[in-house]
Symmetry: C2
Subunit: 475 residues, 2 copies
């Protein structure tokens, strides 16, 4: 996949990387939607790809050629017959080939299907111009000097790995790739390769801090970690830093080429108490140099919300490093760019220093008895309970309140807690109306990039029915 | 000048910074050529500016407004009457002013008159697009993370300070400015402000290494130094590194927004002997990410020279960070861009690893008896003589040989050497024909950016007449 980040654009084609967790049906849909001509597949996913082509052949005769990527020294699987072999093609490559540059710098370089936390995947189009600028900006965002040593924990198929394949090449860096992301693998690789930089969703960080002390090797030097995808709970950041990592909280979306805004740490914050530091670190709002505009706006007036840390608005971006649009979806594109800004669907407030604190996805916010409840805030509190490994909160439909907060909680191995304990814990730390009314102990459904699939949980909460019966008095 | 790097473009105007060493006549010429509307002047140069306006008033009625920049707490000079005062204008500024963005990103942001080592100054036009990309690239080139501490030794009027005013702002850095550049000031400022980065011509480096041990304070940390303007003699680089500086050799021109190509240090070179390291460090050839094309080409065929470290060609650039052109000089612009590349006028060879070694300015190379003599190579050897502080070599016209090498040498204070010693020293280290035939002990004429004005020396050498009389036998 790393090589294809260069080979495909240099051949004048568009790169579309697919999520390795998709099944054959989803892959066949995306192949059809993208009109892919060539399908490169790792030997571990050959059966998925072959299944997808089989499904595809039922509705169209335009079937992409299959190119198998085998592992060095690994024998080809028996069902690989008839496929092209990647290394063979490379060996037969034409050294005189002249790179086909884009005619226009706004021409597409890649197509990225969104991870689908809220809806069906949409095809996000990146331009050469945007990818170029974002690659430079991400080097700066990651505080990289030349020749960084990068450990891949972010899936490279996701937002073109935040443009880091290109960024690391531009800096003459080294890439360390892993077939699977485990705490042991992370510590081993950091130690072995003297890793300087890595990235990962808060779930990856959570995995690191909750790993057995046996696998936790001392770091050979400071490791810069870019985290994003969801605001990291303050506790996670602290425990990472205790292990010697330096965590930067970033915020962005597939539509912004990955991280677009970070929490730039101010030296004067070094002397604040840990609690205050954690709160600051969970904010962001300093857009990288490639992104012209970042604001929190009133969705009705399109005016900036006051920087009062209270007034909620929608986070919006504009600039070179915002997507061209959604492939074959003019309506969604127009909606996303209403008023000349890209609407993220994330709600937040602006602090007096201009930093932004996300409160919720506009679709996730719970409105209970007319009050907004930030699920992110509530999740942060639940997470700080010593027995809790992970938590996600959604609205449970309610006949009286409209919605009530419903928490899905995964406990740490060997730990126990009751619903009442969790609720009490929250009531002690938050306004009473914000505490969950329901607590469900369960594993959380995840996307491959580690984001919790809240729409799945929302379905579960819906199926529970109303907590308050109609015409009952207030609880 | 730092503030004007932002205020002028934000007002929709073009910034043209002038060399502080120009006299009133030169300033009047450049004001006329540039059609400047406002002239901002530091109080130390008020008399130059007023003189220039007086000269200008003899030929035109379009006289720019004069705005005086006074130093905080410094009383205005008596002759400042009638000028506008910078701080007064700032105090009356309109906070509601809406930034006037360029209509097109290729619109000019600044005009830079070349330093004129070879000819009359030409007005080099920088675009917003080029300046933006070069600013990002120069952050990477200087190995800056966020919040760098930059000590200004490069004049900010020169190539817009290599775009560092914008680059350092983009990185949230701190600028330390000095009214004059002295070794003592440099060490004091590094110590006081914990400087992380600086830049300077090899003459600045020379000043540092030859300064009295009394002023040489220990550095609080590694200081990254970007040097350029002329290839630094290997000895200079070494002695800088002994003092704790990390020197990167860069190459570029006003037309390429300053440094465009550097000597990227390869880790495997760390183990080479000092001599070999010094030779490698004096090369360059890794263009920054903002510069698409860098090559050494045969000026007749426009083909790349072979990477054999022998075949000389002209160094050429192309990309976003090459100037738009010369103001009001279509002929010079067309000539500079013949064949779609920018011709630097510098001759060099390409090494097998792709790195470039400059041999000479195409106008400086000496052709003696049909043999090319690289003045850079010869100067490097003379410089390694323990008594030599500085050296510059030009061709002395010769009736028999065409030219012979003529060296102008400044000795270190308290040191002595004879012409014969210098010539012998070179003959012991170079092919005999490359050794100078004439050695003149003198101060070297300099441009304000520290480059030796070879055209002045060439005039002197010419005035000496031929060394060999016509019809004499070979020496």
């Amino acid at each position: 996949m790393y090589e294809l980040h260069f080979a495909v654009p240099m051949s004048g084609a568009v790169l579309c990387t697919l999520n390795t967790r998709h099944d054959s049906t989803m892959v066949s849909l995306l192949l059809k939607h993208s009109e892919a001509k060539l399908l490169f597949v790792d030997y571990q996913f050959l059966h998925i790809a072959q299944g997808a082509l089989q499904i595809l052949s039922k509705t169209t005769t335009k079937i992409p050629h299959l190119v198998l990527i085998s592992e060095c020294g690994h024998p080809l699987p028996p069902h690989a017959k008839g496929t092209l072999i990647y290394e063979d093609l490379v060996a037969k490559g034409n050294l005189q080939f002249v790179v086909r540059r884009p005619k226009d710098e706004w021409d597409p370089i890649s197509l990225n299907y969104t991870s689908g936390t809220t809806s069906n995947p949409k095809g996000v189009i990146y331009s050469h111009r945007g990818a170029y600028l974002n690659s430079l900006a991400t080097v700066l965002l990651n505080e990289m000097r030349s020749m960084p040593l990068y450990l891949w924990c972010v899936p490279m198929f996701h937002c073109n790995g935040w443009c880091l394949p290109w960024a690391i090449a531009a800096q003459g860096g080294t890439n360390v790739c892993q077939r699977s992301v485990t705490a042991e693998g992370i510590f081993d690789n950091i130690f072995k390769h003297k890793v300087t930089h890595m990235g990962g969703a808060p779930t990856v960080l959570n995995m690191i801090i909750n790993s057995s002390p046996k696998v936790q090797k001392p770091l050979p030097g400071k490791v810069q970690v870019m985290t994003g995808g969801a605001p990291p709970p303050p506790d996670v950041i602290f425990r990472m830093e205790e292990l010697g990592f330096n965590v930067t909280h970033s915020y962005g979306l597939t539509e912004t080429f990955g991280p677009a805004s970070i929490c730039t740490w101010k030296p004067e914050w070094d002397n604040l108490p840990q609690d205050a530091q954690a709160k600051l670190k969970a904010r962001q709002g300093v857009a990288h140099v490639g992104m012209e505009g970042l604001d929190v706006k009133d969705p009705h007036t399109m005016k900036s919300v006051p920087a009062d840390a209270k007034t909620m608005g929608e986070v919006m971006f504009r600039g070179n490093t915002v997507m061209n649009g959604y492939l074959k979806d003019l309506k969604a594109t127009q909606e996303a760019f209403k008023g000349g800004w890209f609407w993220t669907g994330d709600l937040g407030v602006k602090h007096p220093d201009g930093y932004i604190e996300l409160k919720d996805r506009s679709k996730d916010i719970i409105i209970s008895g007319g009050e907004n409840i930030s699920t992110i805030e509530l999740e942060g509190v639940i997470f700080s309970h010593p027995a809790v490994f992970e938590a996600a909160v959604v609205g449970r439909p309610d006949d009286y309140w409209g919605e009530t907060p419903c928490a899905f909680v995964k406990l740490k191995e060997g730990c126990s807690a009751t619903s009442e304990e969790i609720i009490q814990f929250c009531q002690n730390r938050l306004p009473r109306f914000m505490a969950p009314r329901t607590v469900v102990f369960t594993d959380l459904p995840k996307t491959s990039t580690g984001k919790t699939q809240k729409f799945v949980l929302r379905e579960k909460a819906k199926a529970m029915g109303s907590l308050t019966k109609k015409n009952t008095s207030r609880l």
